[in-house]
Assembly symmetry: C2
Homo-oligomer: 410 residues x 2
Amino acid sequence: MAVQKNQSWEPCFASRMAGMQASEIRELLKVAERPDVISFAGGIPDPALFPQNHIRKAYDEILSDPILAGKALQYSLSEGDADLRAWIATHMGSKGIACSPDNILITNGAQQALEFLGKLFISPGDTALVQAQTYLGALQAFAPNQPIYDDLQLENTNRTSSSYRSTAKANDSHVRFSYVVPDFANPTGETMSEGARGKLLDLAHRLNIPIVEDSPYAPLRFEGQPVRSIMALDIDQCGGIERSKVIHCGTFSKIFTPGLRVGWVCARKDIIARLCLIKQASDLNSPAINQLVMLHLARGMYDTQVSKTIAHYRQKRDVMLEALEKYMPNGTIWSRPKGGMFIWLTLAKDIDTAALLPKAVAQCGVAYVPGHAFFADKSANNMLRLSYSLPSISKITPGIAKLAEHFCVD
Amino acid sequence: MAVQKNQSWEPCFASRMAGMQASEIRELLKVAERPDVISFAGGIPDPALFPQNHIRKAYDEILSDPILAGKALQYSLSEGDADLRAWIATHMGSKGIACSPDNILITNGAQQALEFLGKLFISPGDTALVQAQTYLGALQAFAPNQPIYDDLQLENTNRTSSSYRSTAKANDSHVRFSYVVPDFANPTGETMSEGARGKLLDLAHRLNIPIVEDSPYAPLRFEGQPVRSIMALDIDQCGGIERSKVIHCGTFSKIFTPGLRVGWVCARKDIIARLCLIKQASDLNSPAINQLVMLHLARGMYDTQVSKTIAHYRQKRDVMLEALEKYMPNGTIWSRPKGGMFIWLTLAKDIDTAALLPKAVAQCGVAYVPGHAFFADKSANNMLRLSYSLPSISKITPGIAKLAEHFCVD
């Protein structure tokens, strides 16, 4: 028997692990759990909005019926519950995306859809196009496939398909993939114009790459007219979902509850079939019981719940925007989201938001996410993301006041 | 705008997709749902055993408490619920694996653990050691990482670490990984002797590779003395979990219900930390509500439920063994499992179990899994797996009789 030592396992890990690092947001969740901290950090839904009683009744109804309970507690199909997929297909149809249940795969929240899509399309060294600041969780989801990134620029840019192609070529790479959060984006809160969406579609067709449209916040529009989804625009142009290059990710997490982990992908059938293989290999199926409960909620109260959520977050956004106006130092600029959960702040150039965070939490009892976390290249020291979804309304103004003071003093 | 065609996406997929194929078992689930089919196919728990009322009460209790409900329905930590991890750590301790909650990660069933472990250890072209016939879902979980396989031989073999090393070398590869289901294995129903476990440990130490010990069926022993887990044996030898090369996967799926998708990995802390990063990137966290319900069940009725499950499946195994004895043609041999869910049949050499399956289902109304599905190289035409867990006792004998007749006629 060889001598055993308590060696590091590092040399035994696959090289793909080099790009996988802990999410600051998830680590911050731990800090933000302290009751004395006002957390503007995670994009966490307000539990006051969870339809707790409806959820309780749904579980109870399902588990009181022996047939339904047997189904709910058993292994189930990898693609997801047929009735839930049918509901989602109809729902997508109402948003201009005509499709059938075979165009839908159920995932553990939209995060799992992103992980699957990275696996399906990205080989090591491939170029993925993402906006300069983008959803941190997407970068993590793609990381095991070892992409390199190029900045997807959509407004006020002279970059063309040739420019992306030649940048990739200079890195001995090919452009294979694009990813956007078009509505009330995480982290900026901004929404792509219809013009920018058309431009992205054109670019994707020229480069022959999929567009992953990550759309968790789109239903949460506080004001103004909805912009049509990139997938709906594409279907209009190309004549049907089976010709579309867009892959749309949706979720119930921001509407009902993230705790049941029910999201979906909507795409061409041949894409869904491949993603279903990946789902099968990954965890067999999402919990059937949670899918049945979500179907119950979706059928019974989707629109009501969306309206209630919008009203609640709109008020919180208003309070936060007002407090920013009142307290933030001159030279600070911020986004004015028309929906969703996030405001993006840019401070004076010499302010390092990452360096200031530990003190903000320890001394001011306020948490946020430093901007660099959302950049593939970790640049942008003077930016940060604020979320208004979780803290109670009465805490928002004092929290922003403390934060502003912190940035002024330092 | 480039001309759009309804082209195949095949050329756009990452090369890792080439190895990902549909599971025959999962496809069979669809057939086996027909009420007229007696299914010996999937390793599906009997829903009559699900503690439906306890589960209903657990959901109800959690969702009636505003604090607990807020936690149950919210995003949660990627590593899993702290109390559930503590329960599992104590449970593992009672099986000779002294560990702390930091040695436990919660996954969506053991399947997700296997997928994560493939990602952590296997790079394309690496050699993974698996037994000739092994869990099909493990082969699927590892497939995206494009391993090559060598047959892990543990009893009556003269293969040594040098032999595995030189086979790998001949393929321009390195041995990096080993995987076993030591107790009441899927698909054979067989249990590794303590000697074979020691031999595997020795081999893994010589090759400096992890042993993934997949242990879903170990609690379901019908008779005889338990064999100590490979991890417990290793800890005895090396002095503690932080020095162990064994990574143990467990699950509640075969005890309480697979529908909540709650499993776990137990390993050194540095492994768990890496797996936690993978979990975060994959789907953020397993549903907190399902973890809290599982904790409730585990605390309240683990031992009772195990005893009940053992008694039920033992009876079904006895009936199936008796029917095999009575009806199967001469020259058929089968395993006699002392626990778990599976019996492995070897028929006369000229019988092709895959070719005979469609007729078995259509004409005899009986389903099984053809043996070749469990071989990395798809060999072994004359074998098949039977599961006795799902069909009602009264269906087992007539099902086996029909199957025997089918094999005799053809």
